[in-house]
Amino acid sequence: METNEIIYCLKKIVKPYVQNDLAFQDFNIKTDFTRDLEINSAHLVDIVLDVEDEFNIAIDNQAMENMMTVGDAVKIIKKKQVNHDR
């Protein structure tokens, strides 16, 4: 899956949990889920669970801890999907 395609999917998943609409309008790989979008840690868990379903991957604690930005999420999704395809 291409980066743009993943970002498009992520944006849809993240939308219901966003508190800062202005930051959401400028959703890009540098967007930080908590700092920019003001998503709380509980909703971050919901997002990760939605990402697992949407991309058919499993995210472990380590990956979860490293998922600060949209770019981090894209990296993790791509990596897991490669493993998946093998």
């Binding site: 709380n40 840690s41 509980a42 604690n61």
Partner: protein
């Protein structure tokens, strides 16, 4: 874990402990009881000359039994072996409450709270919780989630 041991681990005390005893303690769910004391402070003002247990207190009771007690049990289960009792700091925060109320609870009533785990992942415990009165009638039900972490 034993009920008394689990209740002792709760980070609440009088006048904000809403758990008397626990009956079924499992990995998928939990059942517990609480009697709202007639002398409780909130009846003085809720409502004027007409004491009814406030909904927020009912929700708190649901959360303490259904999410926090269950969460402590799940954290305990997650440990490989029974570790020597080092007191670890339990950190909890309620993250979401979505409860519907059906019947009032009056002073002195004993309620039963049952909770079913929806998921416990990345420190977030989400549960479906129901409260019933002594007649077995549904008082309130809903989804409650919290973050539960034990500091190393």
């Amino acid at each position: 874990m034993q009920a008394t041991e689990l209740i002792e681990k709760l980070p609440y005390s009088y006048p904000f402990l809403y758990v008397d005893d626990l009956e079924e303690i499992g990995e998928e769910g939990i059942t517990g009881h609480y009697t709202f004391p007639e002398s409780a402070f909130y009846y003085q003002g809720h409502f004027k000359n007409n004491p009814v247990t406030p909904g927020v207190i009912l929700a708190e009771c649901m959360a303490q039994i259904g999410v926090v007690c269950l969460g402590i049990n799940l954290l305990q289960k997650g440990k490989e072996v029974e570790e020597p009792e080092e007191e670890k700091e339990l950190q909890i925060a309620m993250s979401n409450v979505d409860v519907d109320f059906f019947l009032p609870v009056f002073p002195g009533e004993r309620v039963t709270v049952t909770s079913k785990k929806e998921y416990f992942r990345f420190n977030k415990l989400k549960c479906n919780v129901k409260m019933r009165n002594e007649e077995g009638k549904l008082v309130c039900k809903g989804e409650i989630s919290g973050m539960i972490v034990e500091d190393e």
